[in-house]
Symmetry: C2
Subunit: 350 residues, 2 copies
């Protein structure tokens, strides 16, 4: 019942080669190569002829021949180890967008950051397919072994939203400090005076920066920093549950809780049910990241969006423009406060 037309299968579908294009355009293959690679020293007339032939034959250079003959592989590697699904998906979209625009292809590899052989794995992966550059996401981007291997292979790389700072690395990130500052200021603006904060994993640079932003905003508003309102979390749902419990059992409980990421904020939501608190009426909750969770919990979370897609695009651009011998670079993109239903003025506010 399911069949294939034999004709579909028999034809040998050889794509057009550079020879075909050269013949059709009446030039040498070398000239075709020049045009295709946008090199100079080709007359406009010739370029046009070649372009026409390229279009007519739907010619696309063979990536293997290209990779073999030149140092340029037109291959970007995306390396990750088991990150959040939404995160990697959003990133990949951004990466692919830019790759397509630039005629690059994307090779994806998932690695185990805990594997002691990780450095060797990365090195052989990179050299064997002479990747043009690689993009690293958490937690791989926080592994010194990976960075070292990449440097050893002289392979440019960019880390996206790394958590720790690592010497010799190029990064794309947002300003976590300012983002947390903005969120806190927004909550203060709503009228909140007692704002709880759930810290992220200590040792993660981003977690620290966010906490610092929170403190700074309080300070600027002339609000005291209260010890009991700042509890330690570890970015996990579970840790958010425990932290939320701590905050909500306080005699003088906060009117708003700002969690270091969305997972922990979602945990606070779940937790508050047990305290019979209506969100946002009795308690405002804010998260960070604008991950998928933020949009599917009820009420949806006010949070701070990292422009993952744009960050990924920026990373590819950096990779394509830069050479391995440039020094490390840091690039910061704008975050965005996403106000949803989980935050309102505190109870009793005018």
């Amino acid at each position: 019942m399911i069949t294939v037309k034999p004709s579909d299968r028999t034809a040998a579908p050889k794509p057009a080669s550079i020879y075909d294009v050269a013949k059709r355009a009446g030039v040498s293959i070398k000239t075709v190569s020049r045009v295709v690679n946008r090199q100079s020293n080709v007359s406009d007339a010739t370029r046009e002829k070649v372009m026409e032939a390229v279009d007519a034959l739907s010619y696309r250079p063979n990536i293997f021949a290209r990779g073999l003959a030149s140092e340029r592989s037109f291959l970007i590697g995306l390396l990750y180890d088991n990150p959040s699904a939404g995160y990697i998906a959003a990133m990949q979209v951004g990466v692919l967008t830019r790759c397509r625009e630039e005629g690059y292809h994307l090779i994806v590899e998932s690695l185990d950051a805990a594997n002691p052989n990780i450095g060797r794995q990365v090195h052989s992966l990179v050299t064997e397919s002479s990747l043009h550059g690689v993009i690293l996401t958490a937690p791989l981007c926080d592994s010194q072994a990976v960075i070292d291997a990449l440097n050893r292979a002289n392979c440019p790389f960019v880390r996206i939203a790394p958590e720790k700072h690592l010497p010799g690395a190029s990064d794309v990130r947002i300003d976590d400090f300012k983002a947390a500052y903005d969120m806190t200021a927004y909550l203060i603006g709503l009228g909140h005076r007692r704002i709880g904060f759930i810290k992220g994993h200590p040792g993660h640079g981003a977690a620290q920066a966010r906490f610092a932003g929170y403190r700074s905003a309080l300070e600027h508003a002339g609000l005291p920093l209260e010890e009991e309102l700042c509890v330690q979390g570890f970015f996990s749902y579970q840790s958010g549950l425990e932290a939320g419990e701590k905050l909500l059992t306080l005699k003088n409980r906060p009117t708003a809780i700002f969690a270091g990421n969305d997972d922990m904020a979602a945990a606070v939501l779940a937790c508050s049910q047990r305290f019979n608190l209506k969100i946002p009426h009795d308690l405002s909750v804010a998260g960070f990241d604008d991950s998928l969770v933020a949009q599917v919990v009820s009420p949806r979370l006010t949070t701070c969006r990292q422009p993952i897609r744009e960050m990924a695009e920026a990373a590819v651009s950096m990779l394509i423009q830069r050479s391995a011998n440039d020094g490390p670079v840091e690039r910061q993109l704008d975050h965005e406060l996403v106000v949803r239903e989980s935050t309102v003025p505190p109870p009793g506010a005018t």
Copy 2:
């Protein structure tokens, strides 16, 4: 402040080539090639010598040279167009696992299924990099243009959980009929007698199969199929909201609702709040897919899991084993009923 040790950058990191291995093992490069490709007609002694050299030098064949010289590219393509994030991530993990095991690499491309040029895009992508095979996910896997292009390029492909049936395609899927049957039977087993069903998008084979499974389970249990309990949805959250509304305003409302996918089930959860129904106490809700949503809503959804990872692995295996000239193949994997907190016996049950 951020610096790179110069030594890290200067070394030219040429990976070992087949020549190095041959020299070290004292054989010709051809013999090395034979060993590496697991071909026959190599003596055990020679094989061992070569293997040792390969290990010592961490030799890995250059993918470009390989792809250029042979028909085999060791490249698997994963094509998709904007699917759910969790879905694509889970799939990718499975694909990567098998690829790694078999020494293949993964190239990912995101395409626009609606683009009229899609066929040409796919064709040139496949031929230019002579992909060994490609894996298609929804909605690309339901595009006849894509299938045609692949067939034209003589490129093997496997579709994962396709929604429509398409002639000449190889598929990996679960038994949607049986899965929906099982879920319905489970609800009946809990004591439910009035079970609402929210249908998926008409025209999607899976949606139809699920509805058929639901009906069949009712029938086997001697329960009547009631028109008013079966409402049309379209797999979207929004459609689930509307469908839920319809079901919950019924005079004789169901004690359980089985939605054709998790998104619609999550919508029923949200919807039931407005009717002041406590889930699961007043109403049991079941979804389908075990997508991320199912785990983050509260209460977490009872649902039916598609083993996406395993399906992806199976797809890669099929691609590696099969040649383009084999006919299309269908492979079915086991689903799994995931019972969580959203389903309990109906109110008033013993």
